[in-house]
Subunit: 346 residues, 2 copies
Amino acid sequence: MDIPPIPPFDQAAATAARSRQNRLTKPAGSLGRLEELAAQLAGICGRPQPWLADKVVILMAGDHGVVAEGVSAYPAAVTPQMVRNFARGGAAINVLARQAGARVVVVDVGVAADLADCDGVYQAKVAWGTANMARGPAMSREQVEAAGQVGLQVVAAELAAGANVVATGEMGIGNTTAAAAITAVLTGRPVSEVTGYGTGVDEAGRQRKMATIERALAANRPDPADPLDVLAKVGGLEIAGLVGVILGGAAQRRPVVLDGFITGAAALVAVALAPAARPYLIAAHQSAEPGHQAVLRHLGLQPLLQLDLRLGEGTGAVLAFHLLEAAIRTLGEMATFDEAGVSRKT
Amino acid sequence: MDIPPIPPFDQAAATAARSRQNRLTKPAGSLGRLEELAAQLAGICGRPQPWLADKVVILMAGDHGVVAEGVSAYPAAVTPQMVRNFARGGAAINVLARQAGARVVVVDVGVAADLADCDGVYQAKVAWGTANMARGPAMSREQVEAAGQVGLQVVAAELAAGANVVATGEMGIGNTTAAAAITAVLTGRPVSEVTGYGTGVDEAGRQRKMATIERALAANRPDPADPLDVLAKVGGLEIAGLVGVILGGAAQRRPVVLDGFITGAAALVAVALAPAARPYLIAAHQSAEPGHQAVLRHLGLQPLLQLDLRLGEGTGAVLAFHLLEAAIRTLGEMATFDEAGVSRKT
């Protein structure tokens, strides 16, 4: 993966947006987080009035060898089944993307099934799923690099085609286990704190999941100072792909909207590789998965929505598009005190 | 105000919606609050698949005599100035309603200025603002009844014209003082707990506001067991109008989306008058105004958004329309496990 240079956040554009906010016909600060968001989007895009007309959600799919340890409530066969569901437009992400006017780009970066016949899926399979991290590295360094490169290529193509905001999504049975392992290593939090019920295991399942992660960490000894080592040993192909998407989006000054726990784990890796990517990130929501809190705290991100979502696919990120649009529209379309002849604060 | 009969919430429709949720291609419950919301909307509309095509925000405007006590950061002249801004489409509510595809209906139920020339404003002035509640009742019982009747009439006309979801909004310099007084009386919480900075007074201003409310309560002795007495003595014309809107919406089985603190105070009165209205209410967001928490707790409502908004006008309510639509669309448009050939939980 060729880590691209990331330009600095444009403080002047953010300041210009804040200054306009204070001339609009509302009490100063009364649009709350939408005002901060508008300023952040201005700084990201490098213009006082940001514009997000063409929206895309890039959904990376991959399988996880660690599913053999019984860490998931669903069989691995669900990953390719859901990819076909995405391609037909029947999943939650399709519905919510239609509502938000966003394109869904589904990428097979590592599904353990043949999807070559599946129209509408970007074919970039690096491997048929990862190896079982409980017994050895999930991926080779070469596989991680290749999967990251897929993410960079896909996002570059989408941005070249006009997308000016990128939401991140994922599908991969078993991937909350990988995300929890990455989060434990990169945030230093204990496995018990960052491991949840995923798609719906019971408490015994969660205990099994924690024991599996502990075994994976003991077997692989990922190096917290080497983010790609962590990603290779206990990550996933779709997570590596998302790291590329995040870095490629930031490199082109586009807002990158994170979804939940899995895309958050990808962001941990991306920011460890390139700290300049951090200001380009927007946390769409706070997932019901407990590890997501550790991710957001570590990255210093405040989520826009708290709806107890735990579906993934990019669903929370696409929901947040409405708030990004609200932030931008109020900044651009509201009348100023002078224009409207409204008296200011006494 | 003729309090209309309110039909019971349709539990069977809500149960049918929940049952469909569990057949959709996602882990059970993984859409979190959107799933509850879809079930609530089904129960409100009385059909397993609710439909909210035609959206309206009813914005009641009125002035407050208590502004003479120095309780607001803005002069009372801002109320009619902002009504003109609404009519020209330059305010935050106009921008956000355009984004959400909602109509804005602005009602002059009690602005202390002549707005008869203002096209696009529903003319229903009951009085030129309220009297100063620090010295006596803000309104007569007749005025409250008349303002409530305006709300009932406006919402009935909008529903007859096709609206199937109603957001509530308001404009009235000084109305956080009235809302705090109503909230203190109807929830039993101390004035200090429910009084905030409104549009932006400083701490001295907040102390003055609290002292004013205490004087108003002492001077008027509103009877907590008589909601219209409370509304007349320490309320506002726009708040009374909103009580009518809320009751009229619930009576026609339409979801009533509350905005922030002021519309919440109106909901306190509405539910005290007609407890059957409660299941028809949706709390769009949690305002930065501290009294709003007391309102939501008293009504048992959980807000959908927490964005530190404190603008009013219906802005938070209209933002929440996107979430209502997301709840309804996922319920209606997602494929089921059987349709998509996706395996269920092991």
